[in-house]
């Protein structure tokens, strides 16, 4: 019984991931390619400026796989793999909550997937939205990783707290009031979490770097235009730049918006696919037909389930 339900979670996750990969390949890869072009163009410009100023120049990262490999099998591995992981988690939560709820199998699957989407993705995303290549400093990756995973763990904890509040207050206050109380608890706890964690631009490593050429003091790591802040005229690759002149543009605002919107749609596809797919598969597995034909008592379903 458990293994079959877990298998259905993994399969629905893999199929949702496959759908998500098609979406990513068709709509998101063009943005990623433009972002990578911007990233390398900006890095070249910054390296040239630093050379003129006799500052140390950092190496670019190695190119291990070609872009055509990264954007196809590479991306598919990641997205389908993530779908399997999220499908498995959904199935585990479904198995644990099943005996404690009075819900139709499919409804419980939808609720679990909805809470998963909120806690594992949307609530963290609201604080730390997805970024395309070119956004995100190499030197801040450890700090960004810590605050992001803290946000994910905190968001899941806040949701659990809200659900448990509604559940425990329900007998005393009635369902409606208990739900309002849970919403209040959620808003307060999530608000505290949101306020307690720093904006990426306020991380100590970014505040320190904000004085370097090409960087600026900002709430985010989105690349601002490179401005000649040296106070003197610069000649880079044969071009003359007056003090205060823009030497390289900032990141394209439309590409950033589209990338984040698609990132949200991508997660909706994966979690939505898991909700619908797992809910359908699990009801089929439980033998809805037998249940419909009269075997409605728990004991009969209980007796049948292991053999299906």
């Amino acid at each position: 019984m458990e293994l079959r339900v877990l298998g259905r979670g993994a399969v629905s996750g893999a199929l949702s991931g496959a759908l998500g990969f098609v979406f990513a390949y068709l709509l998101v890869e063009p943005i990623i390619n433009r972002a990578i072009d911007y990233e390398s163009g900006r890095a070249d410009m910054l390296a040239a400026i630093r050379q003129v100023l006799h500052l140390p120049v950092e190496d670019e990262g190695p190119e291990i796989f070609s872009r055509s490999l990264q954007s196809t099998v590479g991306a598919a591995t990641g997205i389908i793999g993530m779908g399997v992981a999220l499908g498995l988690l959904t199935a585990v939560a479904w198995l644990l909550l099943g005996p404690r709820t009075n819900l139709r199998p499919r409804t419980l699957a939808w609720i679990v997937a909805g809470l998963g989407f909120l806690g594992i993705f949307l609530l963290p995303f609201s604080k730390y939205p997805a970024n395309p290549p070119a956004i995100g400093h190499d030197f801040s990756i450890a700090d960004r990783g810590h605050v992001y995973l803290t946000m994910v763990a905190g968001s899941v904890a806040v949701l659990l707290l809200a659900v448990l509040t509604a559940r425990s207050l329900s007998p005393r206050l009635g369902r409606d009031r208990a739900v309002w109380a849970a919403i209040a608890v959620f808003v307060l706890a999530y608000g505290a979490l949101f306020a307690a964690l720093p904006s990426l631009g306020d991380l100590a490593v970014n505040v320190t770097a904000s004085h370097d050429i090409g960087f600026t003091r900002s709430a985010t790591e989105t690349p601002a235009p490179i401005i000649n802040t040296t106070g003197q005229a610069l000649t880079v690759d044969g071009m003359h730049y007056a003090p205060g002149q823009i030497m390289y543009p900032g990141f394209a605002a439309d590409d950033l918006w589209a990338f984040r919107w698609y990132s949200l749609l991508e997660q909706l596809i994966i979690w939505g696919g898991i909700a619908v797919g797992f809910g359908w598969l699990v009801e089929r597995h439980l033998g809805a037909a037998e249940v419909r034909s009269g075997a409605t008592s728990a004991s009969r379903t209980l007796a049948q389930a292991p053999h299906r």
Partner: protein, 73 residues
């Protein structure tokens, strides 16, 4: 399908084909596997690294890591 009774979930999830210990083991393994995938797709060779900083895995899942919302370089 609309006639599936709400008791079906409870009945089915109570129907254990595994012993309690087996059930705990299977569910723990599933969570462990899911967290491992989450970690290797989203985090490894970034803020921390399990098998050394080769960047091979990071580069392989690069596009999906960005799109799925994880911090990346």
């Amino acid at each position: 399908m609309s006639t599936v009774p709400v008791s079906a979930t409870r009945a089915a999830t109570n129907a254990r084909s595994l012993s309690t210990a087996g059930r705990i083991a299977v569910l723990s393994l599933a969570v462990l596997l899911a967290v491992a995938i989450y970690y290797f797709v989203g985090v490894d060779e970034g803020m921390s690294s399990v098998f050394g900083k080769t960047l091979v895995l990071h580069e392989w899942v690069h596009d999906s890591r960005h799109l799925l919302g994880f911090p990346c370089h």
